[in-house]
Symmetry: D3
Subunit: 136 residues, 6 copies
C-alpha cells in the first residue's frame, strides 16, 4: 500500500452562522468568524489517495488524472467564490472546515475509485495554525 498526497489551493469567502439563530447568538458561538459581511482565507487542500503500486507504471494513480479530478470537482467550484452562497456541495451546511472536509470527501470519492485507487484522507488547512483531517 502506497499513499500519494496532492496539494491544491483555493481562496474563498465564508461566514459561519445559522440562519435560525440571531446575529447575537451567532456572534457568541462563532465569534469573529460570524461577521455578516464575510471574511475569507487561502485554503490549502491535501488529498491523500492509497492503493497498490502498478508494476507497469510505478504509480499508485497518475497524478495528472488526480489533479484534474480535484480541479474539476472541487477547485473550479470553490476558488474565488463565496462558500456559503455559491458552492453547490456546501449548500445548507455551516461553512466550517469540518463540514468542508466531509463535503470534499464525498465530492472526490467516486471519481478516485473509478481510477482504481482509494480515497484515504482530506486535509484542509484554513490558516497556518488550524487544520482539519477527515478519513471517511
Amino acid at each position: 500500500m502506497i499513499y500519494l498526497t496532492r496539494r491544491e489551493r483555493f481562496s474563498a469567502a465564508h461566514r459561519m452562522f445559522r440562519q435560525d439563530w440571531t446575529d447575537e447568538k451567532n456572534q457568541k458561538i462563532f465569534g469573529k468568524c460570524s461577521n455578516p459581511n464575510w471574511h475569507g482565507h487561502n485554503y490549502e487542500l491535501f488529498v491523500t489517495v492509497k492503493g497498490e503500486l502498478s508494476e507497469e507504471t510505478g504509480f499508485v494513480i497518475n497524478i495528472d488524472t488526480l489533479k484534474k479530478i480535484i480541479l474539476e470537482k472541487v477547485i473550479q467550484k470553490i476558488d474565488h467564490k463565496n462558500i456559503n452562497l455559491e458552492v453547490d456541495f456546501m449548500k445548507g451546511k455551516i461553512a466550517t472546515s469540518e463540514n468542508l472536509a466531509i463535503a470534499v470527501w464525498n465530492q472526490l470519492k467516486p471519481f478516485i475509485e473509478k481510477e482504481g485507487a482509494q480515497l484515504h484522507c482530506i486535509k484542509i488547512e484554513e490558516t497556518e495554525n488550524n487544520s482539519i483531517e477527515y478519513y471517511g
Copy 2:
C-alpha cells in the same frame, strides 16, 4: 541603520471592482477577483522599520510597541472583515493589495515616527505566489 521586520496576519474578504463599471467590465479587467459575492485571503503583512540602534537597549524599536501599533491601527480593523465594506482606511479605494499596502503605510507612519523610528517598507503577501511592497 538597522532594519526590523514584524509579521502579522489577517484573514479578510474582498472584491476588486469599480462601481462605475458594469459587472461585465469588472469581470473583464479583474477576472475571478471581481466575483460579486466576494472571496478572501489569509494576508501576511510585513512591516519594516529602520533607525539607529539605541545603545541603552540594543533595540531599533521595542518590538512589543511596534506590535501594539500594528494590531491597533491595522489588524483589529481588517481581520475577519470585508475590506470593501468595513475597513475605514480602504473606503473609496479599489481593494487591490497595491492600494492596501499604501493605505497601511499611511495608517502606521505617524505612530512609528512617534516612537523615534522610520517606516521603511510595507509588504503584503496575498497568496504564496503574489506580494506587493511599498516604500513610501
Copy 3:
C-alpha cells in the same frame, strides 16, 4: 470522526543531561545538546483532537476553547522559560522532545476530554529537521 489540529509556538531554553552522570558522560551521550550553559529552540506544538461532528455547530471542538486550554496549560508555563528549571510538568525529567510530548499530552488530556473531544496526537517540532509524535 473528524480530526482538528491547532498549532502553537513557544521559545525556550533547555539542556539534555542526567545529574547522576558526569559532564563528560552527558557530553558523550547527548553531544552539544548537553551544553551546561543551555541552548534553546523555537518549538512548534501541534495538538490534534478528534471527535464526532456537532450537528448544531459543525465543530469537533470550539477552536477558541482549545486554544485557551493549550495557552493556559502549556504555553504560559513554558514560553520564554528554561524547560529544565522552570516548567513544573517537566520536573525530574530529561528535557528531550520525547519526554516533552508525553508531558504535554498528560497536561492537556483531561481538559480536552472535559470539552467532549479526545486527544489524538501531540507533535513537537524542535527544528525544521526533527520532530516527535505521541499518540498516548
Copy 4:
C-alpha cells in the same frame, strides 16, 4: 510508543520511462516527466521511526545515529546524482517517488532495527504539491 521524524534533503535528476516502450508511449503515460534529457528535483525525505522510550536517555533513538544511517545508506548515494543511472538501490526500477519510497524503506529498515527501533514511515516530497508515503 513514540514516533520520531528526521528530515533530510537531496537534489537529483531523474526521468520516468520504460525502456521497453517507445519515447512516444513514455511521453503519453509519463508526460513531461519522461523528457529524455532528464529533469530534477529538490527532494525532501522524512524518515519516521517508532519505539519505546529509553528511561535512561529519554530517547527513542539517538538522532545523531539515525542521521548517520540516513546519510550513509541513502543521501550519499543519491544527492547530486542521476536516480536512473547512478543509484544502486534504484537499479531496474522506474524512477517514480513511489518506487523511491519503497527502495529507501528497504535501504534503511535493517539498520534502524539494529538500533532497537522500528521503521514506521518513509515520506518523500518531490515538490511542494506532491508527496508519497510508505509504511512497509
Copy 5:
C-alpha cells in the same frame, strides 16, 4: 512606486561544467554540482516589477498578464527540461543560478516594459539555503 512580486516554480536538470576543462578540473571547481550524469532542482523564480499605480485599476501591472509573460518566456522553456542542453536562453552559458538570473532578466525585460512597468529584480532560489538576486 509600487513593487509587485510573482513567484513561479520549475523543476529542471543541470550540471555546472566547462567543456574546455577536464572532468577532474570541473570536479575540483564545481564539486558535486559537476556530476556528468546531471542532477536537478525545484527552482523558485521570483519576478519583481515596479511602476506607478494605475488610478483606474489600482494595479501596477495586471498580474494575469505578468503570469502569462513569465510562463511563455521562461517556464515553458525550462520546466522539466535540461538547462544545459535544451534551454535556448542558456545556450553557451555555465548553468549557474547567477547566469540563469541574468538570462531570465533579459528574457523578461522587454515584455514587461511593453506593459508599462519596469523589471526590478529576478530572484532564483535553487534550494532552501541558496538564492541569487539580479537587479539589472
Copy 6:
C-alpha cells in the same frame, strides 16, 4: 552586480538584560525576554554577498567557500551555545538580534572580502514573526 544569499541555522539560548539594571527594570524594558533562567531560539541567518560575476566560473563567490566561512566564523561559535555567556563576538553586548546582526557582520566582512566579494546584508530571523537586517 549579482547578489548571493546563503542561509544557515543555529539554536542558542539568550537573555536580554543589563547588569547595571535591577531584574525589575530589565523585566519592565525587556519583558519575558529578560527571564534570568534564559530562553532560546532557532535562529535563521541569511548572509548576502554581492560582486561581479566571474566569467570563468559563472559565480559571484564559490558557495562552498562562503559556507565554510560562515560555519567557522559564526555557526561553530554560537550553535547550541549561550549567546550571553559563551560567544566571544557578543561579549559585553546586549543579546538582541540587532546587536547580533552587527556582530555577525563584523565577524564575516574581512573573510568575504578576502574572497573578492562584498558583504551586502546580514539578516537574522529570531522567530517566524521577527527579523533584523543590517547593511553595514
